[in-house]
Symmetry: C2
Subunit: 251 residues, 2 copies
């Protein structure tokens, strides 16, 4: 991530107004689907990459994780995490996930929620994560959907009446840098295709076991703009297990 | 499939003009990627659902398949298959794939190329395919990409200069019937999300081992319109193996 927007006071304040910031997991539209992908945490050592306010760290610790390490680039985010989601088993640490280093087999579970679209070299990170995990370890993450990141603007295409006409897809196969506007700030993100995510995982030691495009939950459907979220996929949830992929061909 | 367009003389003639019809596998932009997903065919019993002109049947038989059954709804397509791609090991049979019935474990490999978007109840078909396959059997298919089928028109959104502005996505999470125009004819297709394909496979006996969004090959890039195919994903290739999915959680 080239610039740490989350430590920018204006951006940080706006982020704090989002439903997921105020309400935590209950305010995140994808949480009910994401939780289904999570393994049992009892006695597990857990790493959360881009932990933000620490909601997932606290969740894992509350469910019996023996140790949870939450890493985030933003000092301000970690201060909120420490205040809102402290737990004796959770350590919050400042750092860029691309620069982390751990002994092989340090963790049972690696989590990440909506942070990997800030990462330029995803395959390199996946190689590291695979090494950090014990054999059979779980890697569960959410990212912005390739449909959502492809064109770059991350905005609807509007009709003359000012209503969303459709969602534009463009430059799909050109992976890499995109400049999007998020909470009024220009942010650099990285677009990857679905194949791109798949290859990064399967060529670097993982078997993909879950792939979910979460729909807006029924009970949030009346929130502003939520009904339009049935018209485009915005997120992709992935569950993977450290271990070889069974290849096609003769047994 | 509610109406058999491929036996309509006008549609059939237009289909015959497509590069993939005239040149066979070499004229299909996705073939170089699709072939990588195919298992070894030596001594295998193979079923091809929606075999069309029979290119894939012939390919499997040429590579040693002991028996290949190609099924298609269209009499005209099968007549061309018999003429262009005959082989002693290949039988072409007319039928709707939803209505087929075979003893359990009849095949080692089930193939399908660009035919499942005509199928209304995909999970039911997947259940059948799983039963027809031997344990460890291979299921390899291509479909139109969910991005391509979502809005329904399957056409670019054009700017005032008449050039493609972007590709529109709409109604993504509303799976089901779409009316698209293909070769000038109104055709009914069925849109499914990526999650929809994934669930149909993983909940009905398959492990997904390959997931590929094929890009236009470099040597075809100068064909009319091909460069624009870098801007949207049009196809999805899937390789799956009959067998259980490893679930996340404690071993």
């Amino acid at each position: 991530m080239n610039h740490n927007h989350y430590d920018d006071p204006v951006f940080f304040a706006k982020y704090g107004e989002m439903s997921r910031s105020k309400l935590g997991l209950a305010g995140a539209g994808e949480w009910q689907e994401f939780r289904k992908l999570l393994p049992a945490f009892d006695g597990k050592e857990v790493l959360d990459l881009g932990c933000g306010y620490g909601w997932h760290c606290k969740y894992a610790a509350d469910r019996g994780a023996s140790r949870v390490l939450g890493v985030d680039l933003s000092e301000k985010m970690l201060a909120v995490a420490q205040e809102k989601n402290p737990h004796p088993a959770v350590e919050y640490r400042r750092g860029a996930m691309e620069e982390l280093s751990f002994p092989d087999g340090s963790f049972d579970v690696v989590l990440s929620s909506l942070a990997f679209h800030y990462i330029e070299d995803f395959p390199a990170l996946v190689r590291n994560i695979c090494a950090w995990l014990k054999p059979g370890g779980d890697f569960v993450f959410s990212v912005e959907h390739p449909v959502f990141t492809a064109a770059g603007s991350q905005d609807w295409y509007y009709g003359p009446d000012g209503k969303p006409l459709h969602f534009p897809v463009d430059n799909y196969y050109y992976e890499g840098r995109r400049e999007a506007v998020f909470l009024g700030e220009k942010i650099t993100k990285y677009h990857r295709t679905l194949s791109g995510y798949w290859k990064a995982l399967t060529e670097n030691g993982f078997t993909v076991v879950d792939l979910v495009e979460p729909q807006p939950p029924e009970e949030m459907m009346d929130l502003p703009g939520m009904r339009d979220e049935m018209r485009r996929p915005m997120m992709l949830l992935v569950g993977a297990k450290k271990g070889p992929v069974k290849k096609l061909g003769p047994e």
